[in-house]
């Protein structure tokens, strides 16, 4: 066993703009900030980890994505244990979605490699433009999904969930909607689409999954949160395995562990802050965080386009 080779595989060059103490201090600050958001909003924060690592520290996208997925394994596992204890994990729905999402995660990683080596021809600036653009679209879609799921909940309609009304057979049944069947192929496709985002962008997909579980499966808010964590954990694990066995290492473990340790402290702070905020402003605050991320990425996108002459 060559342990130096193991270390080399675990710590690929990240090409960060900062080095030494500044680099580690920045990672700790980012981990702390993400942890506060996780504790405050109950989201994994993968959608922020990747762009922040790339924009603020200049870490290559493929390493940021891989490391974010490894980070998500830790945060989603902690959340999953808590939600499982509370009985909020719907394993049959999670199982059918995971069947699709793991395939999607593998496809997402291949798509990332196609964008980098195929479409961008190995040009990092072009690849950054692609990834930034996709991130902006996904974040805008998330804001839209949040608004529509909020409206759906406020209208309090007890009609059949979308995936029980549409989608080809065979169907599976869940306790909450006893008389209705949910389309297995439909669920698989939904899982696969979310998995593609996980493998491609390094996001857990909680911000996409929760509205899906609320709208398409009619789960309660608590069950949607718990079930999404189970899906995120399984999908991120498969995505990390796929990235681990790729030709070039894509997960920087020291980076992941620093982020995770800092986020442990941040989560406790976030939980502390959340008790001091009224429920009405909660959703709006989260939208502001998403908008701030969009602005950050858009500015960096403009700089990349101008500086590389694309």
């Amino acid at each position: 066993m060559d342990w130096f080779e193991v270390w080399r595989l675990l710590s690929p060059t990240v090409d960060a703009a900062l080095t030494g103490g500044y680099y580690y201090a920045s990672l700790l600050a980012i981990g702390l900030g993400i942890g506060i958001l996780t504790g405050f909003f109950g989201v994994g924060g993968g959608f922020l980890v990747v762009p922040i690592l790339n924009v603020a520290l200049g870490i290559r996208y493929e390493i940021a994505v891989g490391s974010s997925l490894s980070f998500i394994i830790g945060t989603s596992f902690a959340g999953l244990l808590k939600q499982h204890k509370l009985g909020n994990v719907h394993f049959s729905v999670a199982g059918y979605i995971v069947a699709g999402s793991v395939l999607g995660a593998v496809l997402g990683d291949s798509l990332q490699m196609f964008l980098l080596t195929g479409l961008a021809g190995g040009n990092t600036a072009v690849f950054t433009v692609y990834m930034h653009s996709i991130f902006i679209i996904v974040l805008l879609g998330t804001i839209r999904a949040m608004r529509s799921s909020g409206k759906a909940r406020s209208s309090a309609v007890s009609e059949a969930p979308l995936l029980a009304r549409f989608g080809p057979p065979p169907k599976f049944h869940i306790r909450e909607w006893d008389q209705l069947g949910f389309s297995v192929p439909g669920t698989f496709i939904v899982g696969a689409l979310i998995g593609v985002f996980t493998g491609l962008l390094g996001i857990g997909g909680g911000v996409l999954l929760v509205p899906v579980l609320l709208g398409l499966f009619g789960l309660s808010h608590q069950k949607a949160a718990g079930t999404s964590l189970a899906i995120i954990f399984a999908t991120a694990m498969v995505a990390v395995i796929k990235k681990g066995f790729s030709e070039v290492p894509k997960v920087n473990l020291p980076l992941t562990l620093i982020l995770l340790v800092a986020s442990v402290i941040g989560v406790q702070l976030g939980v502390f802050f959340v008790k001091r905020v009224s429920g009405s402003g909660f959703r709006r605050l989260f939208v502001y965080v998403l908008l701030a991320a969009i602005v950050m990425i858009a500015i960096d996108l403009s700089i990349t386009l101008l500086s590389s002459g694309l």
Binding site: L10, S70, I73, K82, T256
Partner: protein
């Protein structure tokens, strides 16, 4: 073999920290409830 070990570690270590995170939040919550 090295690749297998490295991939295993990128999964195992975050899980261990996640487990620690879960224990810590449980511990803090218990203390908080007791204080209440």
């Amino acid at each position: 073999m090295e690749q297998l070990i490295a991939t295993f570690l990128t999964i195992l270590l975050p899980i261990l920290i996640g487990f620690g995170m879960h224990l810590l939040s449980g511990h803090l919550q218990q203390r908080f409830i007791r204080k209440d």
